[in-house]
Amino acid sequence: MNTDSSETTKLATLEQTASEELISVMTGLLYPFIAVFGIYIIYNGHDTPGGGFQGGAIMAALFLARFIVAHENDLEVHFVHNLEKFLFALLLIVPGIFIFAGLQMQFPELKIPYLIFMNFLIGMKVALGLTIVVYRFGFFEGR
């Protein structure tokens, strides 16, 4: 009886690791596709539906997939957080120079590069922010 139950537990753990490995491998295969899709959404955000926030959420899915695959807490939360603050500072400075100071009237050819750059800033900021949230909840709050 005793050995029987322990054998069932062993079988269950075996099955669990097998399915986890399957999920890990399949999710690992998705990395480049998620990255390319996110960059595409951000890069074409000024011409097609999408943009910084949406593409940033997709890029955060890249780190979410990494959380599922590797399950290691090797993210420097404070470094990422400081990086996010730096991106926010850029997000204040660039429109301040380009829009509020009226530079867009003098250099109309910079309008589209400005839109793309802003979308990239917003996308990276959203991706880093959501990554911090996912890692924080996954490793500390979800226990």
Binding site: H46, D47, K85, F88, P95, K125, I132, V133, R136, E141
Partner: protein
Amino acid sequence: MRTVIVSIFVAFLFAGVVFLYTVHGDTTGVDIASYYIYNFAADTGAGNAVAAIYLNYRMYDTIFEALILLVSIIAMLHFFRAGGSK
């Protein structure tokens, strides 16, 4: 205790903002909407009116939206300390 006070303060702030919004009932009207629709490509160079609005006409909106994300993450790192490395 501090958390409770902060929560009550935030709840009052939320109620105040909602109250202000319902009281003044200000709307922008059709003029500005049609201006955006007909002029966004020439004004901003974008092919997508949404991008033109949130990155040019309504830049403040985007800045404060990004600020909300930053503040919420600061709040999360600050208040949730269960087992974290601070």
